[in-house]
Subunit: 393 residues, 2 copies
Amino acid sequence: MEKNILFAQSGGPTQVINASCYGIIKEARKYDMKIYAARYGVEGILNENIIEITDIDDGSLEILRFSPSAAFGSCRHKLKEDEFEKVLDLFLKYNIGYFLYIGGNDSMDTANRFSEYVAKNGYDIKVIGIPKTIDNDLLNTHFCPGYGSAAKYIATSVREMDFDANVYEKNIITIVEVMGRDSGFLAAASALARDELVESPHLIYLPEIPFDEEEFLQEVSDVYQERGKVLIAASEGLKDEQGNYIFLREKKADKFGNIQMGGVGKYLESIVKENIADRVKTIEFSVLQRCAAHILSKTDNDVAAMVGSAGVRYALEGCNDVMVSIMKNNDSFSTSTTPLKDVALEVKTFPREWIDEKNRWVTKEAIDYITPLIQGEVKPIFKDGLPKYLRFI
Amino acid sequence: MEKNILFAQSGGPTQVINASCYGIIKEARKYDMKIYAARYGVEGILNENIIEITDIDDGSLEILRFSPSAAFGSCRHKLKEDEFEKVLDLFLKYNIGYFLYIGGNDSMDTANRFSEYVAKNGYDIKVIGIPKTIDNDLLNTHFCPGYGSAAKYIATSVREMDFDANVYEKNIITIVEVMGRDSGFLAAASALARDELVESPHLIYLPEIPFDEEEFLQEVSDVYQERGKVLIAASEGLKDEQGNYIFLREKKADKFGNIQMGGVGKYLESIVKENIADRVKTIEFSVLQRCAAHILSKTDNDVAAMVGSAGVRYALEGCNDVMVSIMKNNDSFSTSTTPLKDVALEVKTFPREWIDEKNRWVTKEAIDYITPLIQGEVKPIFKDGLPKYLRFI
């Protein structure tokens, strides 16, 4: 009897993580095997919260492909050594020969350690990692599916906000807080908003560059004096020289005696209001940047599906303990593999050489890297004026 | 010589205010007249910041139609009596016979008073108001262009956030702050997010219903106990029994000693954290709900263009001192006129009979009213993966 395949989703959701499931299902269906999905990542494996998805109808499969968030649920559970036996038991019970784990660097670590455990115990289960993260911080892959769509959302929204900010003659400072705790790829994507008409963002603050409050105020003040309108894109993960997150700083009371709370955006708002101008607007994209599937990148979605399908093929070809990685060849993308242990727990930061000398803008190389990832639009299925999405939890 | 036409945009921008300019230009071009636009609303008239737009090329006109925000700029300037003479002088200089003012109830008041001034001084200038506001709070019109697209953005985003909130098994309370200082139409639009899968929003707080903190905490707690996940849509304009905005309330320190600042959302977050649960996320749609042209409603855009064109025709037919109003006839929309003084400064609130008896949901009548306004999608022109927009300021 052919062995069966199981996949699970892990970590923060993206606009295209379900496209990888679509790719897995499409490919695995070509073979005589059952396709299982664990609900809520490895937690579903530990709790035997497993569904069989082999016979999903084509219509649902298409909707799944363009649905945001993890349609089978996710978790942030890092599998401990003493849980491996339980996982293995379930795999044997369902006759699982291939396990595909869609996630980021923590998930790749879990997959790597489990794979080693399986081998040590003499079983033959192929474990493959499928890359996914809007942060784009996995090593050994050209990019991570999820990043392209988040980048498209961020650049589109910043451009639209530039139009809003320019409506009145009055001056205004807008602060946009973008995700990315350790890596500046998302904040850098805001740079794409600029075109012949759009000057926003004027300043980009990346977590790779230590944050200096005095410098920040001087830079904002300079643009404000010159242009009257300033749009600042700030990564949630800004840290000072000592590596302390600035959003954890003791907050200052504003002139009304109120003390700000919140993330980087609100913190920057408080110091800008205190030192530069009163008219400040802060917008946190929050979860919108990872769930706005109505503006996903077709390229990102296509590649997410591709890595899912490739994962199945690699597993059937006998690959094990590897992550599917993405390569760029001129205008197209292809896949390869990289050992899980080389990417597990590692963080790729935004390249220093892609940050301009003044530290507040990105180079042409960076723009040329991000631009292909946001290409193409897909309209989800709309019903009664709203996008129709699917989930299995 | 045929007299010329001048239009101006006023108040807060919308996703479709430029579609009304498109309608005006398309219609006025059929006649032998010059088409002028004032920059930054009446401020542009006072400063002679006027551009002629008669010969705009068709390609730009199409992009204009789908561009967000006021492409000719806006203002919140309420014309004073002693400024009318200056306005009239400019109108005479440019031989303006028709003035179309696109705006909300303040703008309709300005237009009304100016129209009366013109008549009193024996001049023949037709003054027409073109309705526009995402708040949907103008009287004597089935709806206000701008509302349909903001409603579509809000319902789409709430639905997508529901998918995000359900990814983990962990409980979470999400608070969404929606615009609408005096009128609950925007908050009510969140109700459309619900479908067979989506339970969000669980509770809607409208400015028409006095806010009671104890009641609020009880309601949130009830849903939280029952479902574990709660999504609350709250209007920025929530007021207590005495009519005081609750976002102006003295803020309470959280358990870390920090004091919240911000709008309604952050205030509600602070009391929920203090009384119900720690895992709370607040999202303010802020300007995104009025500038996200990439998800505008085709119906809304079509009607915005229609009221612009109709305004030109009404003016040429001799109508004066009226606002173009929208009527709904079965599945289509048509226009009529209503005296400016009947709509000036008046606010339409969300109908009491459309709020369910428990005050936290809207009736089927409300859903049936909003649904037709969000129908249809238009993809803007995309270039390099991002929407391409236009402005003339």
